[in-house]
């Protein structure tokens, strides 16, 4: 526990020094508020750009807040996983390469404390950014459109946080087991590619971690099928725990790959 705390402090300082704690929330908030504002002024923008035939109704004017929020979260979905993977894929593997790990491993630290400190550091940054971005998005949608149920927003943020946690864990585990390039590719495959597969042939099953994004959006209009939803949550949590175990095993196994 003591080791974990000290290593987490190191991790925190690292995130502060390379400004991750600043730019990731800013980017998420920007992407969160841009979409509602753009939808709100779409008509004006279209008029200003011109070249629209007479009497065209794009159906944008009569959007409800739920529609706007759903499309915002859909956009968010692409950006979040991309930035999380790209900024955290080297967290463990780069330390092996640039000799920081050699400095750490000569001391008697436990591998689980090391891996878990990395995971918690990355999770704090990623979750903080996601929640801030979604809250900003809700705020703008409520100002520009109509009110929304607070509990629905909370459910959406909660479900979405679990998905972000899953992405972070996948990235860090890949980083613990493989080198940076392989880790990034693998994390992409496991999030984007699997999501694609899930959306193409996913109607045959209803329970999978990759459906969490869809379930999160469903919270806005109605409750998702409760048994499917909770089963997905349970499956995701189990997957995260498994990935943590694999990650700790990977950091231990890769001791011989450390550059001195």
């Amino acid at each position: 526990m003591m080791q974990w705390r000290v290593l987490l402090q190191k991790e925190w300082r690292d995130h502060v020094r390379n400004l991750k704690i600043l730019w990731i929330p800013i980017v998420f908030v920007l992407y969160g508020i841009m979409q509602p504002v753009m939808f709100y002024y779409m008509e004006d923008i279209m008029k200003a750009v011109g070249n629209m035939p007479e009497g065209v109704d794009m159906g944008i004017t009569d959007m409800t807040s739920a529609d706007v929020m759903a499309s915002t979260v859909g956009q968010f979905h692409l950006i979040v996983a991309l930035i999380v993977i790209l900024s955290f894929m080297g967290v463990i593997s780069k330390e092996r390469k640039n000799r920081t790990a050699a400095l750490l491993y000569v001391r008697p630290i436990s591998f689980s404390a090391y891996y878990l400190s990395k995971l918690s550091g990355a999770t704090i940054v990623a979750l903080l950014s996601t929640v801030l971005g979604l809250l900003a998005s809700f705020y703008y949608t409520m100002i520009l459109y109509d009110e929304m149920d607070v509990w629905k927003c909370a459910a959406l943020i909660g479900t979405y946080s679990l998905w972000v946690l899953f992405v972070v864990t996948v990235t860090l585990t890949a980083s613990a087991v493989f080198s940076t390039g392989v880790a990034g590719t693998l994390a992409f495959l496991l999030t984007y590619f699997m999501q694609l597969i899930d959306s193409i042939i996913g109607q045959f099953w209803t329970v999978s971690p990759w459906k969490l994004g869809t379930y999160a959006i469903t919270w806005l209009v109605a409750e998702p099928d409760s048994s499917d939803f909770w089963l997905s949550v349970v499956v995701t949590v189990i997957a995260i725990l498994l990935l943590v175990i694999i990650g700790i095993w990977g950091t231990r196994k890769n001791v011989e790959n450390i550059k001195i």
């Binding site: 390379n18 400004l19 991750k20 920007l30 841009m34 504002v37 709100y40 900024s87 080297g90 640039n98």
Partner: protein, 62 residues
């Protein structure tokens, strides 16, 4: 028109903060991947995307 400006102002300000942070970091960092002046152009011209690309690929992690 003024309400439009009030709505867009936060976005512009946040975008500006992001750009300033990236530029300050670029000045302070000893070395980047590739020439520094190129990154300055990318950050100023590339809006949000430029700053993101700088933070992810431009910073040389020692």
């Amino acid at each position: 028109m003024s309400s439009l400006l009030m709505m867009l102002l936060p976005i512009i300000i946040i975008q500006f903060i992001l750009m300033i942070v990236a530029l300050i970091d670029l000045v302070k960092i000893p070395q980047t991947n590739g020439p520094k002046w190129l990154w300055a152009i990318v950050i100023v011209c590339g809006n949000i995307i430029g700053s993101i690309i700088y933070f992810i690929f431009g910073r040389k992690q020692v």
